[in-house]
Amino acid sequence: MKILVCISKTPDTTAKIAFADNNTKFSEAGVQFIINPYDEWYALVRALELKETLNATVHLITVGGADTEPVIRKALALGGDEAFRVNADSHDSYYIASQIAAHAKQENYDIIFTGKETIDYNGSGIGGMVAELVGIPFVSIASKFELNGQVATLRREIEGGEEVCEVTLPVAVSCQKGMAEARIPNMRGIMAARTKPLKVIEPVQADTLTSIVSFELPPAKAGVKLIPADNVEELVKLLHEEAKVI
């Protein structure tokens, strides 16, 4: 059994968001980078759990420059077996998915896991795009993944509820909360990660279908209007008359 986990480098959840170059580029000054939480906590850890019970091999892939290597080393420290970095920098989901798909087609993975979205560009597209390019079924926003032989049973979010569905491998799955519990790497994992293979591969030719023209920061909030605790009627009145939300 071979599993591929797609890893993205994102700013830490508490990072201050600012832009440079006339609001065309995310300002990385002073920003800590982490593994995108959905990729790490749900996609990667579920893959590692399957590895522990099924004797699976877990490969990691990221598309990015050399500055993504600390993040992918951390994913190796958590228990990934081998990592691939496609040496390209892009914010276009289709371009990134094309790179992952080109690698995945050669390796014939049984399962491709992604997080449900990244916390920076919030595109939520990579899983479905990769599935389509590789030609395998896709299950989105899954909170459970159980395997019985070659048949996976998943629980996924739908409008107004949840669906339990079945699919025969291979499959691509985007993962959300519920798939697994977060882990922290131990010292043995960190030491082992240093010598695990991290292969740099050059990108294949692929089209870019979108480009970011500019960024904007939201307008600052006007400031909170405080209401005395003994006058909740005033809050109801404001919500009705001023905010018009009730």
């Binding site: 597209g125 989105s140 409008e159 509820g161 279908l209 023209v213 109801v236 939300v245």
Partner: protein, 323 residues
């Protein structure tokens, strides 16, 4: 040329988020001087389909097939790709709801059509096809140009308010050939969230944090939610401590909600929590700590003990609503 909109149904009803997509798509069609066609798959009544005209659709393509009542992304991708060809669609619009997030990326790859996921503006076509979306979990916006010939936009739910008119759409049966190979993912069962308002669709959300001290104290929050017709939610520590189910967790790693009104009770307002709620139109914070960071993100605030303030607020809401 035309604009094709995918409107998902759940148990025969077109979802509100899908109606928002229809209305958005109709506006894009008007902008481009073309017509808006909606695709609906699964068993839906003729009246429900024709009513899509109220949101600007001229035509509805209906794939009436019971196998599509629970629609998997791969099947939908095939149907939509055929509809795009038939209608010569230049733009495809989805809601950025769960179905849109499942299907739009696959269709994007199939058609090599650039995708903007979670649009919060109509396209600016003065210089390309530029659509605004949230990035950094709502902490910023990006203006994204779709450079491919065909374009896909998914519309962030609860961003554009619905303004139905008196229109009616013509309904046309559409029957793309589907084989067993198009049903690779098999639905086993659907569990609906019944008796309560689904969190991600709720217009009002009442949410509780550690300040409520324990699961046994959730009654005051539920009473307020009930009086307001609101969904209930919670912060991550509350879900992690199993005080409340995980499907109520809102925040960076839980659900993102964008209600008209978000009432946070006993939640300090960590940046990860704010990332999941900062799209809310109005935020009310009730917290006994005046230094709680959430007050900085709030529109209205009450500094006070939740156990005193919330029951009084519930009574005031009931009085206002006459219940």
């Amino acid at each position: 040329m035309s604009v094709l909109i995918f409107a998902d149904q759940f148990q025969g009803k077109i979802k509100k988020s899908a109606l928002e997509a229809v209305q958005y798509g109709a506006k894009v069609a008007a902008q481009l001087g073309t017509s808006a066609t909606v695709l609906v798959a699964g068993e839906v009544s003729a009246d429900e389909l024709a009513s899509l005209g109220q949101y600007g659709a001229q035509k509805v393509l209906h794939v009436s097939d019971a196998r599509l009542n629970e629609l998997e992304a791969g099947t939908a991708t095939k149907i939509l790709a055929e509809a795009v060809a038939k209608e010569n669609a230049a733009v495809v619009v989805f809601s950025h709801n769960f179905s849109g997030r499942a299907i739009a990326p696959q269709l994007s790859s199939r058609l090599k059509a650039g995708l903007v996921a979670g649009a919060i503006s109509l396209p600016d076509t003065a210089n390309g096809f530029v659509v605004k979306k949230n990035v950094f979990s709502g902490k910023a916006f990006a203006n994204v140009n779709i450079t491919s010939e065909k374009k896909i936009v998914s519309v962030l739910p609860n961003t554009f308010s619905l303004a139905p008119t008196g229109g009616s759409a013509s309904v046309e049966a559409f029957a793309p050939a589907l084989t067993d190979a198009d049903f690779r993912v098999k639905p086993i069962k659907v569990e609906t969230i019944s008796g309560e308002v689904p969190l991600t669709e709720a217009e009002i959300v009442v949410s509780g944090g550690r300040g409520l001290k324990g699961p046994e104290n959730w009654g005051i929050l539920e009473d307020l939610a009930h009086a307001l017709g609101a969904a209930t939610a919670c912060s991550r520590p509350v879900a992690d401590a199993d005080w409340r189910p995980h499907h109520e967790h809102v925040g960076q790693t839980g659900f993102t909600v964008r209600p008209n009104l978000y009432i946070a009770i006993g939640i300090s307002g960590a940046i990860q929590h704010l990332a999941g709620v900062n799209g809310s139109k109005v935020i009310v914070v009730i917290n006994k700590d005046p230094e709680a960071p959430f007050f900085k993100a709030a529109d209205y605030g009450i500094v006070g003990d939740a156990f005193e303030v919330v029951p009084k607020l519930t009574e005031a809401v009931k009085k206002y609503k006459g219940i």
